[in-house]
């Protein structure tokens, strides 16, 4: 505090220091990549990619689905599935309170949103992680919604796409969350058996249990530029190996170089790119008779299926 401020009565003091560096909310956004101050309307038009440095900012699951899907014919899958607290988990805060807080903050029930919709007129099922909801962590709800999405895909014979953005498994659900890795991966075997394409589109960040299950199992693995993708977090690795990590370690470009992903795709190109890949993959597809596929079908899916016939 400067000498001048000390002289001022407290009522006149403005809390400048705490606000320094932040930009008034709503109008402008500071790019975390290049610090440029960007006009929000322009930024949104550019799909939250910085026009100056191409930094891909994190976006919410709903924003992603809005960008990706055609406006017509969207239908949310498993939205009534909600989290519970099986272990009465409490750290510095109760898990229940954390859920409520995250729900208020994001207006979502959990960290994954699944929708059936269309991409350039073709039916698809898309799932998107919301990083703002407890770090996009995978608990029972995320796993179950993912499986319902996959089942819908299998049932209708349409492609399945996931946009990941997650710190990993949700610790507050302990083994219930760890086993979602097995659950989501097992569900994907049904897609594979049915010969339906699965595209995993990894965005910043995709780590831990999500990376080590559903994210790495795509027929096509795609990443957004400069996304952090890996199993162990950089800090954990640094502490374990006690050396400085190489430049660009665990970034999309690093993963492509090491053969983990097929390609890096700019967000502004994602619709075109995914659409043309899917068209190619689906072109000669021999349909597996539905009777040969065993799956857990949610009742609503059965009903919807019969509606459409």
């Amino acid at each position: 505090m400067s000498w001048f401020e000390k002289l001022l009565p407290t009522t006149i003091r403005t809390e400048r220091s705490s606000k320094r560096g932040t930009v008034p909310e709503g109008l402008w956004t500071k790019c975390p990549g290049c610090n440029a101050i960007l006009y929000n309307t322009e930024l949104e038009r550019n799909l939250s990619v910085c026009p100056k440095c191409e930094h891909h900012m994190r976006i919410s699951a709903r924003t992603r689905l809005d960008m990706f899907l055609d406006e017509e014919g969207r239908e949310e899958i498993g939205k009534h599935i909600k989290p519970v607290d099986p272990l009465k988990f409490k750290d510095t805060k109760k898990y229940k309170d954390r859920i409520v807080q995250a729900q208020k903050q994001t207006k979502e029930n959990d960290a994954l949103i699944v929708m059936k919709g269309q991409l350039k007129g073709n039916d698809i099922v898309v799932a998107a992680f919301d990083f703002k909801f407890m770090g996009g962590s995978m608990g029972s709800v995320v796993g179950e919604r993912f499986v319902r999405g996959v089942n819908k895909s299998v049932e209708l014979g349409i492609p399945f796409i996931v946009f990941t953005s997650s710190g990993g498994a949700r610790m507050q659900e302990s083994l219930f969350s760890l086993f979602q890795m097995a659950k989501t991966s097992a569900a994907l075997t049904k897609l594979s058996e049915a010969g339906i394409p699965y595209i995993s589109f990894m965005t910043d960040p995709t780590m831990g249990g999500v990376s080590a299950s559903l994210a790495m199992l795509g027929d096509i693995n795609i990443a957004e530029p400069n996304a952090l993708i890996g199993f162990a977090g950089p800090r954990v690795i640094e502490q374990t190996v006690r050396e400085k990590l190489p430049e660009g370690f665990q970034r999309s470009e690093f993963l492509q170089e090491h053969g983990a992903i097929d390609m890096i795709v700019d967000r502004r190109e994602m619709c075109n790119k995914v659409s043309s890949i899917l068209t190619l993959l689906m072109a000669n597809r021999v349909k597996t008779p539905a009777s040969n596929i065993t799956l857990l079908m949610p009742i609503e899916a059965v009903e919807n299926a019969s509606d459409q016939e």
Partner: protein, 322 residues
């Protein structure tokens, strides 16, 4: 302090030291103090019983990583016969943190896959403290697929702090290696029996942990993250590991309450490290029993049951119309 004993076992350690000392006295002086000795031994037994009947989750977590605890190769020696170790992933390297091999259980051929920790410093480093790299998981997958081809049941023995968090491991696709195993194990056309014999450390454990049966030894643990890791993330302090261990419910009894287990195999008084023979015998009995149930099952039934089991993981509520 006796390093063979954990801190909460120190009273037992002191008694045991006294007993050893008295035995030496008896031997040296050829005097008969067997009554005194017998009394001390009974006291030691009672003390062990009282300490072990009331273990905290954190103490069990320490027991699960006890330096004297039997590891995969100890069970191989005590339970199986005709063991032939199989090395390498055929692509990059052999990972000593995972041991694979053909063997017999009661005469029946099985494929063993297990994490392996080291006993002394040199071996600990060689085994990378039981933390596999991608090539370890890919070796495991390779032998699983082989077992599938030859209709041989797979027995997984899980004991790892976690998959290795290293630069090379990331470069070679640690995530993909784990994910691929989860995917393939869900549809492996042969029975898979998984047992947590020590530490069930997160994805590194699960990567050889998907199957038709899940068994835990009494003093083993299974968790999504180590108590230390959980404490440092959620409490911002590694000192809260005890709280984290309790909050996550990682002991065999707690995991059974959560509905994930087919069986908890009891350990000898004081833990498996006190008597390899007894713990191995108990585990062998359980493995044989589950194998007998599974080995003649129709493959389609086996796979469907396994799939439904995996799909049942998770708790949530579903409220329609809101």
């Amino acid at each position: 302090m006796d390093l063979k004993f954990l801190d909460f076992e120190q009273p037992i350690a002191e008694l045991e030291a006294k007993i050893t000392e008295l035995r030496n006295v008896e031997f040296d002086n050829k005097i008969n103090i067997s009554d005194a000795l017998k009394q001390l031994e009974e006291r030691s037994q009672a003390l062990t019983e009282s300490i072990f009947s009331n273990l905290s989750d954190w103490q069990i977590s320490q027991l699960s990583r006890h330096p004297g605890r039997p590891y995969t190769l100890d069970y191989v020696e005590h339970i199986f016969t005709d063991f032939h170790e199989l090395h390498g992933d055929r692509a990059y390297a052999d990972d000593p943190a995972i041991v694979c091999g053909l063997a017999r259980l009661d005469g029946l051929p099985v494929m063993i896959i297990g994490h392996q920790k080291g006993r002394d410093t040199k071996e600990k480093i060689y085994r990378n403290f039981g933390m596999p790299r991608p090539e370890g998981y890919r070796k495991a997958l390779r032998v699983m697929k082989m077992a599938e081809r030859f209709k041989i049941p797979v027995i997984c023995l899980i004991d790892t702090p976690g998959a290795y968090p290293g630069i090379g491991a990331e470069e070679r696709g640690q995530s993909e290696a784990i994910a691929r195993n989860l995917f393939e194990m869900a549809k492996l056309k042969t029975p898979v029996i998984c047992t947590i014999i020590g530490e069930g450390g997160s994805g590194g454990a699960l990567a050889i942990g998907v199957g038709d049966r899940l068994i835990m030894l009494e003093y083993s643990t299974y968790s999504v993250i180590s108590p230390e890791g959980c404490a440092s993330i959620l409490w911002k302090s590694a000192d809260k590991s005890q709280l984290a261990a309790e909050a996550m419910g990682i002991t065999s009894d707690r995991v059974r309450e959560q509905g994930f287990l087919d069986e908890v195999v009891r350990e000898p008084l004081g833990g498996g490290h006190r008597n390899f023979k007894i713990i191995a015998l108990n585990l062998k009995e359980a493995l044989s029993r589950h194998l007998a149930e599974l080995k003649d099952q129709d493959v389609d039934v086996l796979l469907e049951t396994r799939y439904q089991r995996i799909m049942s993981f998770g708790v949530y509520i579903e409220e329609a119309g809101k």
